[in-house]
């Protein structure tokens, strides 16, 4: 059996390349040119991708999954009803919720159920967004446009209910984009035995 051999010629060098010095000068010239242009040149002409973080920040894309927030009703109560769908869906098991019931004399009694404890361990969270997908009340959202602020303490990454409620969305509000008519709302035409049908 004969083997066909294809001989590939070694790439050679020109005399200028072989002389070394002109190529050095050419390379240095390019680097220094960029250096002066990017350091002292006008802003518009700079050819550089890095930003001076944290003084300058790049806007995250619109669908970026940032840290969580809990949306509020118009009376400031959490929209969350502690159904535990998010903690069921969470693959990292980082959400801990304890449900409770509004007392009968509470004006929010009509909403019936609320989370007395709502804690997200942001260190365990993998930011997959399943909690947002699972939420039937649009109560948990990741539209804050913020990543986790760095900290030297682990405690700072355990977000409780108050912290989560205090984070606004990208639009600066605490409300939901998908309002829902609930039995506790003033406008809800709900009835009770006293008011009759």
């Amino acid at each position: 059996m004969t083997v066909e051999v294809k001989v590939i010629k070694k790439p050679g060098r020109t005399l200028a390349e072989q002389a070394y010095v002109p190529e050095i000068a050419k390379g240095l010239g390019f680097a220094m040119g960029r250096f002066f242009k990017n350091t002292f040149g006008p802003q518009a002409k700079k050819e550089i991708d890095t930003v001076k973080y944290p003084e300058e920040k790049v806007e995250y894309p619109e669908r970026f999954r940032g840290i969580h927030r809990l949306t509020q009703r118009s009376d400031g109560s959490p929209r969350c009803v502690a159904c535990l769908c998010c903690s069921t869906a969470c693959p990292a098991q980082c959400i801990h919720i304890e449900p409770a019931e509004y007392e009968p004399d509470d004006p929010r009694h009509g909403y019936e159920r609320y989370p007395s404890v709502f804690v997200i361990d942001e260190l365990r969270c993998i930011f997959c967004g399943y909690c947002v997908e699972a939420c039937p009340c649009d109560a948990i959202r990741m539209d804050t446009g913020m990543h986790m602020p760095p900290s030297t303490s682990r405690d700072h990454f355990i977000y409780d209910k108050e912290t989560l409620l205090s984070i606004p969305g990208r639009d600066g509000t605490y409300l939901t984009a998908n309002p829902r008519h609930e039995p506790g709302d003033d406008t809800h035409p709900g009835i009770d035995r006293e008011r009759g049908h």
């Binding site: 009803v81 159904c83 535990l84 069921t88 039937p136 039995p183 709900g190 049908h197």
Partner: protein, 524 residues
């Protein structure tokens, strides 16, 4: 037995049985809401409509749109019947899956969801709700009604145990029938019609009989929720163990629903057993689960009152052995427990035999209000089992033990369990004795009177059996693991025997149970 055909499958039935009942016995489910095997037939939910294809067909007139003519033309459709009502007949051909039936099921399901508030996020029934299950199985279409649903009262308190939500209610009347037929108390009824239809409590009454939680148990949707279980847990996290109720000597079979993530029991549900409790349980029995994690003894202790201090279990066993050896066998009292399994009691009887102690007593709770439905007046689950374990020997009550202690006939006590009718003040004579050893799962008067208390596992944590008032032996499996370092009482007793230098003749539960056969035969 005569047979009929359901969807091509032959099903045997007894005379008088309905199609639904016969199918249910065979393990075939025809979708239904209002029918319950333990209740009378209401046939009002219309979910179980089936087509009886054999025999003379009844036809209903209807209008069908004819695309060629561009108008509605008269036609007929077969008349369907609820499977829960007509009695099955020989060679009857029934279809629960043909096109007409499927359309009817989807339509009924859509009708029941017409004004449903869809507040599943706040509803405890979510996860075990028939409306949810049947929506996926039989409907699966989007809502067509665009107007505001009809609103009804929500969160109505029916009594100390039950909360009612009229918007979720599908008016199947199961709760009314449970009160009428099981609890024999007509406290619930229905008022108004159509959109205004709702369940009400009799005026001047509360839903407060002994079987109120059964209304919640039979409710196929989330209309009735239990005040106790309300918002505590999501059912899809719960796992179920098979237990026997410790509430009374009836021994109702239970599902022990617990969360495996934290080892906490959240509720008991009745488990069907035609020989014992049919489908039901009483409220007090269902609440016995709360005993499990309240006042548990988790560490061995020595000393009494203020001097009580925790010790390692090994040390406690050695101390107990020392104290028991110091007492003459003829003056040692062994107290069995009517709250512990027959196996635990048998191990203790064997230890008494090995020590040569023949003074056997029985600690038991003092009884509660019984009825002729399920509740036995004896609120101890295993009085008969303790008697069997003692091979029929007479078991004297704790009252006699106290008298014997005062008379000087008893100088040492080895007691099982926490349950006694006596208070700590009444048990005062025991405080004078040095050698009182208690093997107990919970704190209580008897452990408090003991000089050495050693923790053992609770009923939810052991493999064992109870003998109910009728003499029926019922075995159950552990739902949970005992706390760290705590073992079932029979294992602790066997360790104590080893410290005392006695061999009880069994190595494991299987070996112990072999001894039980002899004990039962001797008891007879």
């Amino acid at each position: 037995m005569p047979k009929f055909t359901l969807d091509g499958k032959e099903i045997a039935f007894e005379a008088g049985e309905t199609v639904m009942e016969a199918a249910w016995r065979e393990g075939i489910e025809i979708p239904h809401y209002c029918w319950h095997p333990g209740l009378s037939i209401a046939a009002n939910c219309r979910m179980c409509l089936v087509h009886v294809e054999s025999g003379r067909q009844m036809a209903m007139p209807q209008l069908v749109f004819d695309a060629d003519k561009g108008e509605y033309v008269p036609a007929t459709k077969p008349r369907l019947q609820p499977a829960c009502q007509p009695a099955a007949a020989e060679d009857m051909g029934v279809s629960s899956t043909n096109e007409e039936v499927k359309t009817a099921q989807a339509s009924v399901q859509e009708f029941l969801l017409l004004n449903h508030p869809v507040d599943c996020p706040i509803c405890d029934q979510a996860g075990e709700c028939k409306l949810q299950d049947y929506y996926y199985e039989h409907q699966g279409t989007l809502k067509r009604k665009l107007t505001e649903p009809v609103h009804k009262p929500k969160g109505v308190r029916f009594g100390p145990t039950i909360v009612y939500d009229a918007e979720r209610c599908i008016m199947c009347t199961r709760c009314i029938r449970v009160c009428d037929e099981v609890a024999k108390d007509h406290v619930l009824d229905m008022r108004e019609r159509g959109n205004r239809n709702e369940i009400i409590v009799a005026p001047g009454r509360e839903l407060d009989h002994k079987y109120t939680l059964m209304t919640e148990h039979v409710c196929p949707v989330g209309a009735l929720t239990s005040q106790d279980f309300r918002f505590k847990a999501r059912v899809w996290f719960l796992k179920s163990g098979q237990g026997v109720c410790t509430g009374c000597a009836t021994g109702c079979n239970t599902h022990v629903d617990y969360d495996p993530r934290n080892g906490k029991v959240y509720r008991l549900r009745p488990r069907d057993n035609a020989d014992v409790n049919q489908f039901w349980m009483c409220d007090d029995g269902m609440m016995t689960y709360t005993r499990h994690d309240t006042d548990r003894l988790l560490m061995s202790t020595t000393g009494r009152g203020e001097e009580r201090s925790p010790v390692a279990e090994e040390e406690a066993l050695a101390l107990a052995a020392e104290k028991l050896t110091a007492v003459d066998a003829s003056k040692l009292a062994v107290v069995l427990s009517a709250q512990h399994t027959t196996e635990d009691n048998l191990a203790l009887v064997k230890l008494a035999g090995a020590l040569g102690a023949d003074r056997l007593y029985l600690a038991a709770l003092g009884g509660w209000e019984g009825d002729d439905i399920l509740r036995s007046e004896d609120n101890n689950p295993n009085r008969s089992g303790a008697k069997q374990a003692a091979s029929g020997a007479s078991l004297k009550p704790v009252g006699e033990l106290l008298a014997d202690v005062q008379a000087g006939a008893v100088q040492g006590v080895l007691a099982l369990g926490w349950a006694t009718a006596e208070t700590l003040e009444e048990l005062a004579p025991l405080l004078a004795l040095d050698g009182v050893v208690s093997l107990t799962s919970h704190v209580g008067a008897l452990p408090a009177a003991a000089s050495v208390a050693i923790p053992v596992a609770d009923t939810f944590e052991v493999d064992g059996s109870f003998v109910n008032a009728k003499g029926l032996t019922q075995a159950f499996q552990p739902a949970l693991c005992p706390p760290d370092g705590v073992e079932p009482a029979w294992a602790t007793i066997s360790e104590l025997a080893a410290k005392l230098g006695k061999d009880l003749g069994f190595k494991d539960l299987q070996g112990l149970r072999e001894g039980l056969v002899d004990a039962v035969e001797a008891a007879q």
